[in-house]
């Protein structure tokens, strides 16, 4: 079966960095052969999905401002179809984690990720989300979000330029385009993600007790 090469308008396949990871992913997914009809249907649906990635508005610190700049009129990610940023995790396709995640924010992020509807993706924007960034030695900073959720694309920078964010989104589009939708496993465990037990956020407050009023 010949290697599927996802096509992105205006940037040829060879100019993308890290084609090796993508090719390994394709080899992994395509271990079993698939039906031609299902394959074509997959292509159509993947075309639809890759051009309509709606991100959850989630920005904690400085990288959030660059994310807002990407949406403004100079860089305009609406050209790709990404401008619909939904606020509810149930309607979003990807979570662009822009900014540092601290110990206090970690359960919140995990809960948001769990609330999202499949198929969902995670993009780690900026040094802090990838590895803790300049705050790596701190007592309250999570050294990279891949400790709690699986990450699909890493966009380095402090903060990454808007063009870098767009490039990262195009890499995500390539990844979406090679996935199989009908049958077959897609999500791969990334390095560093705790493999066996799913991390569940517990002790969510449900009841309140009564007491003396102010």
């Amino acid at each position: 079966m010949e290697m599927k090469k996802p096509v992105i308008k205006s940037i040829p396949y060879e100019e993308f960095k890290d084609n090796e990871t993508l090719e390994a992913l394709i080899a992994e997914i395509n271990k079993e052969r698939t039906n031609v009809v299902l394959g074509r249907l997959d292509d159509l649906i993947n075309w639809g999905r890759s051009n309509s990635l709606w991100s959850l508005t989630f920005a904690t610190s400085c990288c959030g401002i660059e994310f807002m700049s990407v949406g403004a009129s100079r860089y305009d990610f609406a050209r790709f179809g990404f401008e619909v940023t939904r606020n509810s995790p149930r309607q979003a396709d990807l979570i662009m984690c822009a900014g540092t995640i601290t110990h206090k924010m970690a359960p919140v992020l995990k809960r948001l990720y769990d609330q999202m509807a499949e198929p969902k993706y995670v993009v780690a924007v900026g040094g802090c989300a990838i590895s803790g960034g300049p705050f790596k030695g701190s007592y309250h900073v999570l050294n990279g979000i891949d400790k709690i959720i699986p990450v699909d694309v890493y966009i380095p920078g402090c903060p990454p330029r808007p063009e870098a964010i767009l490039y990262g989104m195009m890499q995500l589009q390539r990844k979406v385009k090679v996935e199989k939708f009908f049958g077959g496993k897609n999500k791969h465990q990334q390095k560093g993600y705790m493999p066996d037990e799913p991390i569940i956020v517990t002790n969510c407050p449900t009841e309140q007790t009564n007491g003396k009023d102010e």
């Binding site: 051009n51 179809g81 149930r90 509807a117």
Partner: protein, 358 residues
């Protein structure tokens, strides 16, 4: 211009000759339903694309342009994505109401859509209380929104739904008053008659001042009815995350999304029907040559042109103004719009009785 009545009668007689009457009626109903739903979806896709491009134009941006030439395939890709999204089962929600709510909203939207007159004879539902029926059918969309907010078991959705309920019920009144003003002018509630009457001049010109006031009131209350900015409190993005449809994913959310755009189309369609003449061409009494030339343009082009003009107006308003607060929304309605509407109705009645219209 073409009269679709003759075409429809031809289809009817050929069907009746081929099969028993009840079967023919069944086939006709199915055909009408398919056409209505098809047109609904086509216009929804056009509207979503138009919104994104118009928004980009106002904001000095480009808008979608990578998916297909000029980005015209963008909405199709959104639709594919929405179809395959996982539909999440909320644990503590009221199952029946939760699943019913999007359908109520779409149903009300589809019924009102069927009443719009696209051209002479090209109308699915047409009977003697047409306009009144439209007002009644559009009001049960509110139920869908309230149910969505209530059954989601989410405090934000609840706040959004209650705001929406209060707002929509209030603005029904102004909408009704402005439509009633035009009914007084024309003397009939049947939609096809309303439009036929406008072939000798659109109501907004014939009714001069009261009709213009009624048009402005109708645009404002139509905006509020469809929960569009500046009245988009129920789904105020920067306040309540996503308002009443926070807990919907996949197709459920898709139905709300489509219904919002189509409601805008319907409001614009009704505005162009009763104020701007529907499919009736531009008519100036005395200029016969001009009127002849205007008649060459088919009715459906007139209708769609006027509707899309009103839609563009609504989008312009949306992308300019900030959002109103809920108490300001209600004050605007009850303290300003309702008294003005009643006064306007009175003025129109006096004008009609005294013959001061064109």
């Amino acid at each position: 211009m073409t009269d679709f009545n003759t075409i429809i009668e031809a289809i009817d007689s050929s069907l009746n000759s081929m099969m028993p009457h009840s079967a023919a009626v069944l086939v006709e109903c199915i055909l009408a339903a398919v056409c209505a739903i098809g047109a609904y979806l086509v216009f929804a896709i056009i509207m979503i694309y138009m919104e994104r491009k118009v928004c980009a134009a106002f904001q000095c941006r480009v808008g979608p342009d990578r998916v297909g030439k000029w980005g015209i395939l963008q909405v199709f890709s959104d639709v594919f994505k929405m179809l395959i999204k996982e539909i999440i089962d909320i644990k503590n929600s009221d199952r029946i109401l939760y699943n019913l709510a999007p359908f109520l909203v779409v149903m009300s939207s589809l019924i009102t859509f069927s009443c719009l007159p696209f051209a002479r004879g090209l109308q699915v539902l047409d009977f003697n209380i047409g306009i009144f029926f439209i007002m009644a059918a559009s009001s049960f969309g509110i139920l869908g929104i309230l149910l969505a907010g209530w059954s989601s078991n989410n405090k934000f959705s609840m706040i959004g739904a209650i705001r929406s309920g209060g707002q929509m019920i209030s603005y029904e009144l102004s909408m009704g008053l402005s439509i009633l003003t035009l009914v007084v002018l024309s003397g009939s509630m049947q939609i096809s008659e309303l439009v036929e009457d406008q072939t000798r001049g659109w109501f907004i010109f014939r009714g001069h001042i009261p009709a213009v006031i009624a048009f402005i009131m109708y645009i404002i209350s139509g905006n509020a009815e469809t929960n569009r900015a500046p009245f988009d409190l129920p789904e105020a993005e920067s306040e309540l995350t996503a308002g009443f449809h926070t807990e919907y994913s996949g197709m459920g959310f898709g139905l709300f999304y489509v219904a919002e755009f189509m409601n805008m189309f319907i409001i614009a369609g009704i505005a162009s029907t009763i104020f701007l003449g529907g499919w009736a061409p531009f008519y100036i009494s005395g200029l016969d040559g001009f009127n002849e030339a205007m008649c060459w343009i088919p009715g459906i082009v007139w209708f769609l042109g006027k509707t899309f003009f009103v839609i563009w107006l609504l989008m312009w308003i949306r992308w300019t103004f900030p959002r109103l607060r809920i108490d300001q929304v209600l004050v605007l309605e009850w303290k300003y719009m309702v008294p003005i509407g009643l006064l306007n109705l009175l003025i129109m009645t006096i004008c009609v009785v005294m013959g001061w219209t064109f």
